[in-house]
């Protein structure tokens, strides 16, 4: 039985889930959702995800939405398979959760708004708000300063191993570096840059990049 992942393979939040499933060697099927055609706002899809967002998953009778809830579930379900994405002790798991929350609340909204203004709106032929983009960039600079300090003391955000905390950043940083022209935020910081090089060279992420056609 494969896990069905509803969403385009090129969108950040489905990518978060797909990377986790690839890391854990869990078979999946991508059910494409056409965001341009507003498939995600249609009644059928709203039954799966009532906020009209991607992704949603279906695993036999089990259904779930919110990418960070989905990755927590599969990382725990397949804890003993592949890399341990959660940490070993209660304390290690809490630190992983802490940095996953940092990504969700200190990092994600800034990246989302920056990419929206600099990439998505222009692609739709609309004017991006450059003042908002600049403000996001300045705030993101401060967040990356904290990451730089953190990563000068450990190879990964939560400690010595790659975990959900690092994984959760992959889609957003890819957008920053490849699409938004913000690669310098990463490359100008020694430890952030080394961390990004390491995590973006993981086989699972590279497989996803192929699937996404990059």
């Amino acid at each position: 039985m494969v896990v069905k992942v509803y969403g385009p393979v090129t969108a950040a939040c489905p990518q978060r889930v797909l990377t986790c499933l690839l890391e854990k060697d869990v078979d999946f099927e991508i059910v494409h959702i056409n965001l341009d055609a507003c498939d995600h706002k249609k009644p059928d899809f709203l039954l799966r995800q009532p906020f009209g967002q991607v992704p949603a998953i279906e695993d036999a009778d089990f259904k779930l939405f919110e990418s960070r809830a989905i990755i927590r579930y599969y990382a725990a379900k397949y804890e003993k398979r592949g890399p341990n994405l959660l940490g070993n002790s209660l304390e290690e798991r809490a630190v992983v959760d802490q940095w996953l929350e940092v990504e969700a609340h200190n990092f994600n909204e800034l990246v989302y708004n920056l990419v929206l203004q600099l990439v998505i709106l222009p692609r739709m032929g609309k004017q991006g708000d450059s003042a908002l983009a600049l403000s996001c960039q300045q705030k993101l600079d401060k967040v990356f300063d904290v990451y730089e300090q953190r990563l000068s003391g450990s190879a990964y955000l939560a400690g010595d191993s790659f975990t959900l905390a690092d994984l959760s950043h992959l889609p957003g940083i890819r957008y920053l570096v490849e699409d938004a022209g913000m690669g310098h935020l990463v490359s100008q910081r020694k430890h952030v840059n080394a961390w990004w090089e390491t995590i973006s060279n993981r086989p699972a992420w590279k497989k996803l990049m192929k699937l996404a056609g990059y």
Binding site: P50, F51, F62, L64, F65, E66, S67, R68, A69, R72, Y73, A76, K77, L90, E91, R93, A94, V95, D97, Q98, L100, E101, V102, A104, H105, N106, E109, V143, V146, Q149, R150
Partner: protein
């Protein structure tokens, strides 16, 4: 009686009160450590050691130093699984997944617009800051859409994640409390049958009443 569990930050902070509510639900004794944000204590070198983003809360016990209110809540629930409310974070993986889903919904869909409204309507006046009416209208409209989703969900189950009060509901208490009791936006909840019923239930829990009391005492 000294307890190693410490929560740093003002009870009036929504994120701090999220953690306080969880500790009280779980019957976990704790020490509250005030942080004077008006004096910039949360940006001091000492505080940045326990919360490098200069935000509240920060949490410590004998084993760990932690930040991010929702991560702290999950840790408290796991560590003190047998204390207080045993169902707060579920007792099996499927229950946990549903709770995580709605905690994420709170964090990603409810929190952003409600935080803006809480700041604009409850805090800005107290800080003598000018309110941004356009920001208020935009975020009222966003929050309204989120509450429509909740109305449907809460017609299907008693609480957000299922039949038991969980971290998912608890996570909403801080912002919703300010909206209903300080910002004069209670009607956003009470005008909807299911959301109104849910809000009435969760806000009258003993644990939340104790947090509100702590907030009153701290002013």
């Amino acid at each position: 009686m000294a307890t190693p569990v410490k929560v740093h930050g003002p009870p009036l902070s929504t994120a701090v009160s999220r953690v306080l509510a969880c500790l009280i639900e779980k019957d976990v004794p704790f020490q509250h450590v005030p942080v004077n944000m008006a004096k910039g204590e949360h940006k001091s070198p000492d505080f940045l050691k326990i919360q490098p983003f200069g935000q509240v809360p920060a949490f410590q016990d004998e084993a760990i130093s932690l930040f991010e209110s929702r991560a702290i809540c999950r840790y408290v629930c796991e560590k003190y699984a047998e204390n207080g409310n045993k169902w707060l974070y579920g007792t099996n993986p499927l229950a946990k997944a549903s709770i995580d889903q709605w905690v994420e919904a709170e964090g990603q869909s409810f929190n952003p617009p409600s935080s803006v409204l809480v700041f604009q309507l409850a805090f800005a006046p107290r800080m003598n800051l000018k309110q941004d009416q356009s920001l208020i209208s935009q975020n009222e409209a966003k929050l309204e859409k989120v509450l429509e989703v909740y109305e449907k969900r809460l017609g299907e189950s008693r609480f957000l994640a299922g039949d038991d009060f969980s971290l998912a509901d608890l996570s909403h208490l801080p912002n919703a409390h300010y909206l209903a009791n300080v910002a004069d936006r209670g009607e956003m909840f009470t005008s909807k049958k299911n959301v109104g019923r849910w809000w009435g239930e969760i806000s009258s829990r003993d644990s939340w009443k104790k947090v509100v009391e702590m907030q009153k005492q701290s002013t």
